[in-house]
Amino acid sequence: MTSRARIEQEARSGLSQRENQLMAVRILLVDDHPIVRQGLRTLLEGRTGWEVVGEAADGVEALDKVATLQPDVVVLDVTMPRMNGLEACRLIQQKTSGLEVLFVTQHDSPQMMREALDAGARGYVVKSNAARDLLDAVEAVSQHRVFTALARPQA
């Protein structure tokens, strides 16, 4: 390879790394309230490269959509009919690999958060602070980093 070609190849790999940093994140939203899903969507679609690929209203539908849509991140509520988020998270983690679960929930509870992490989630934020924490949380979990933030101070 000529030195010029080598320089060009190295420049191209450098670009690929930068492009990786702006990598697309494909997100599935799971919450039993369409209004909450709309709010989450509005926040997430403001980020270049992030795409909400689907929505589900309970754990059963979530499992189905994970299989068909293969998202990178599943944003999951805890309290839902038919199958709650904790159960859905366990099953998602059993059946798939490579995707990460972020809980966005009303339950501002260290115990619930521990339960969520034990179920295989990588992130846990509280709905009352979701507008503040959601983007950082999705970014972190999409890079396989843990992100947790409760609202009330812990003892």
């Binding site: 309230h33 209004i35 709010g39 805890v78 979701a130």
Partner: protein
């Protein structure tokens, strides 16, 4: 002229969703957003919205008391209440408070636009379940929903209800005083009057009372899973 809507909900995520839904309608504008009832009352007084959408379960001042205070200030306010529960008691209280729209949060995406349209045309809007109760004569104040209905509750003043909510949220008398611009001594007096009127003996009793009477709302978590014993690798 645009239809101006004030939103009051303590979750910004929900407000984002409601805004996105409502602002799709041409001619509708969300003129303000409040994150608790007290802010909602202040903003409504300043902005004079055409319709106010109020979540029942807000901190500091819940949606029912916000409705009462708004209508005391101006009986022409058109108010839609948003709630996660549709129990008989909540429905009765919302109607008694003067709300003319009642929408379940789970159905807001489907019902809220219709509710705003109805109130704009000086009609009422309730979820189908409430319509059944209305047909059954619920609005006739002489009727109870069932024989198991508790006797009518002692009346707390507006200020006493405010203090009840803040104490049930875990605030000390000093914190309540600061929030309501009262002296601690006055708050203590309200507290004793509340406990005496309601025959309560502890703050725990007060919290139970507040939950039962929709002064504060809680959501029950699902049963937590007991993990299987783990083995150490």
């Amino acid at each position: 002229m645009k239809l101006r809507i004030l939103l009051a909900d303590d979750h910004e995520i929900v407000r984002r969703g409601l805004c996105a839904l409502l602002q799709k309608r041409e001619g509708w504008e969300v003129c303000g957003e409040a994150s608790d009832g007290r802010e909602a009352v202040e903003m409504a007084k300043q902005l004079k919205p055409d319709v106010v959408i109020v979540d029942i379960g807000m901190p500091y001042l819940n949606g029912l008391d916000t409705t009462r205070q708004l209508l005391q200030h101006d009986p022409n306010f058109k108010i839609i209440v948003l709630t996660i529960t549709d129990s008989d008691q909540v429905i009765r209280e919302a109607l008694d408070a003067g709300a003319r729209g009642f929408v379940l949060k789970s159905d807001a995406a489907r019902d809220l636009v219709s509710a705003v349209e109805a109130l704009q045309s000086k009609r009422m809007f309730f979820t189908p379940r409430v319509n059944d109760l209305v047909l059954a004569g619920f609005l006739d104040k002489g009727h109870a929903i069932s024989r198991n209905e508790p006797p009518s509750l002692p009346t707390l003043t507006v200020r006493e209800r405010e203090v009840t909510q803040l104490l049930a949220e875990g605030k000390s008398s000093k914190e309540v005083a600061s929030l309501l611009n009262l002296s601690t001594k006055t708050v203590e007096t309200h507290r004793s009057n509340i406990m005496r009127k309601l025959s309560l003996h502890s703050i725990r009793d007060l919290v139970v009372y507040a939950i039962k009477n929709n002064i504060i709302q809680i959501q029950m978590p699902p049963q937590l899973h007991t993990p299987p014993e783990t083995t150490v690798a």
